[in-house]
């Protein structure tokens, strides 16, 4: 369970999050929608521990652990995963080596032996099929020369390899055509275990057609201003955010 209380955060001294309260129980999918600059990406970056953002007040706990006292990699070992809005390129480091380092770092943190090469490659092969990602990409440098769709698919592939218990999909749908979107979303659904929870950040309903949220939140001006069921996302798709802004008097 992820529990966020009264979270305030700044970047370069400017306050972006102004008191977020959010509880995501195991197995639940929460969608976060909102206008540009509302603080959606800040929220996900604060959860994973991007040092650029400073938490000035409030708390985040994950399965009872104080997340804010943990390093970014420790949060990852605890089961948190983020699919990046803009996946990063690492020249000269092959996907295979990168994934091996990540998988074995997590295993080490959990007190497990590193995977043998053959075992590791077998798991790679299985997971690759789930997200229909080409073997050729695995020998290339991390995200280098990948198309937009391949990069996003690669994020879901990494999620498959790391088997997190809480996933953040940060605008995973941006830059994807309909087919790629379907493959990515279906991959996510296949990988998801009953107790996997997720926070899905998106501007559009179309991703939520595939990944069905239990709860939808609207983030505006650094606060969650409205929470509802899946129909809230549909309403936003049709009517935009203006009616919500009117409701809260903005």
């Amino acid at each position: 369970m992820l529990e966020i209380k009264n979270l305030h955060a700044t970047v370069n001294g400017k306050e972006i999050l102004k008191g977020i309260d959010l509880t995501i129980n195991d197995g639940e999918i929460h969608a976060i929608m909102g206008t540009n600059g509302a603080g959606k990406s800040t929220l996900s970056n604060v959860i994973v521990g991007n040092p650029v953002y400073e938490v000035t007040d409030g708390s985040i706990t994950f399965n009872g652990k104080n997340l804010l006292e943990m390093k970014t990699e420790e949060r990852a070992h605890a089961g948190i995963f983020m699919s990046f809005q803009t996946p990063i390129e690492i020249p000269g480091v092959s996907m295979t080596n990168f994934m091996r380092a990540a998988v074995n770092a997590r295993r080490e943190a959990l007190g497990l032996e590193p995977l043998k090469s053959t075992e590791f490659l077998k798991i790679m092969r299985e997971k690759r099929k789930l997200v229909e990602i080409d073997q050729k990409l695995m020998n290339r440098s991390v995200n280098e020369g990948f198309s937009g769709g391949e990069k996003k698919r690669n994020e879901i592939f990494q999620m498959a390899m790391l088997e997190p218990s809480f996933c953040i999909l940060d605008e995973t749908d941006s830059g994807l055509d309909v087919d790629a979107l379907r493959i990515v979303a279906e991959g996510f659904n296949k990988l998801r275990k009953p107790d996997t929870s997720a926070m899905v950040i998106t501007h559009y309903q179309r991703l939520l057609d595939y990944i069905k949220p239990d709860v939808v939140h609207v983030l505006i001006g650094g606060k969650i201003v409205k929470t509802g069921g899946p129909d809230l996302a549909l309403k936003i798709e049709n009517e935009g955010f203006d009616w919500i802004k009117a409701e809260i008097g903005e």
């Binding site: 521990g49 650029v52 390093k71 990852a76 990046f84 690492i90 990494q158 790391l162």
Partner: protein, 481 residues
Amino acid sequence: MSEQNEFVRSVAEKKYEFGFTTDVQTEIIEKGLNEDVIRTISAKKGEPEWLLEFRLEAYRYWLTQKQPTWGHLKLPEIDYQAISYYADPTAKSADGEKKELDPELVKTFDKLGIPLEERLALSGMAVDAVMDSVSVKTTFKEKLAEKNIIFCSISEAVREYPDLVKQYLGSVVPYRDNYFAALNSAVFSDGSFVYIPKETRCPMELSTYFRINAINTGQFERTLIVCEEGSYVSYLEGCTAPMRDENQLHAAIVEIVVMDNAEVKYSTVQNWYPGDENGNGGVLNLVTKRGHLRGVNSKLSWTQVETGSAITWKYPSCILSGDNSQAEFYSVAVTNNHQVADTGTKMIHIGKNTRSTIISKGISAGKSENSYRGLVKVGSKADGARNYSSCDSLLLGSECGAHTFPYMDIHNNTATVEHEATTSKINEDQLLYCNQRGISTEEAVGLIVNGYAKEVINKLPMEFAVEAQKLLSVSLEGTVG
């Protein structure tokens, strides 16, 4: 020693894995440098008169010269009288008999991963192991001799093959070349001699491992490689030294001669003790390496991974005389703490249609300074000469420096010379991405740096490449975050 110092030392020691010393009976001649010392060295090695004369001429020339100051580095004042110029850990016992190889020496090289017993050796690699001033042992000599390949210490070569040595010694790097070349020519001790006869492909990698052990001594390595027509050799060089608070001097010369259609690959993983994190101690690595591509279609490539030494001053170079000859220089130089490296290459195009490639990757961390210095010279007769140079610098942290000094001297307008240079900082986004996948910052830096250096590392023979990758990560521990 205070508790804190003890701690600092233990941390530093952990980082420099090879900082131990070997307790072995070593014959060290008295400190100081004069003609008598040179005569003593020459006599100990039983050298012919012409070589003593060569040394004395070099010495007399050296006396007229001053230490060069053009490098982007501050060489400490070197007191040449406070150094001993000959240290022999295999010294004879009192009765004059050459004793058996001291087990301590065998253990030392074992610890360094260089087994001196052939049955334990890495398959396909012959080693000449040099400690201080003397070659301790050369492996696989007999096996190589079956193909008429000569692989031995330079001292032995002087005794056994004086004509070959006389013909080539100083032919690529004359003692007048520079200050440290003159010093080396006067006092050089040991190093390797390689001779590959015509149309012979050397069946194994040849390597020399240099170890400085004795205190207050300098090491003056001298290596000479001659590759006759149509022959091939891959040669590797490794080096380490104990941790000491004083600087240790290593002034070497490597000469390579490549005849028609012959090819030499020379790889170095340089891991001399770099000094502690406050800049105390460390090896002063002042080296002249040069290859002469005399023959048509000859090839020479220098690949170096430089992680050690307090100061590195080194420009492995190529003279491309033979038409269609090809030269390559691949370099990764890492500097951390207070290390200073001024390194690069010279490509001198003389023959027609000669080609050279320079790939240099500098990585600086801590308060270190890392410079690339390179010369591309195309002579008036070098029609169709081509050079491509690419010099990249990666900065870790904000207190280090990276510099590029490319010189071009082109006297033929059919030549094509390209130069590219970039400077980048390690990217915070890349670190975050790795961290989010559970990879610690330290490991992430290792991955990113190895990725950055891959183009060069890939040029190394397999075993060396693995070693070099580890070394890159270890040298940069604790530099970010």
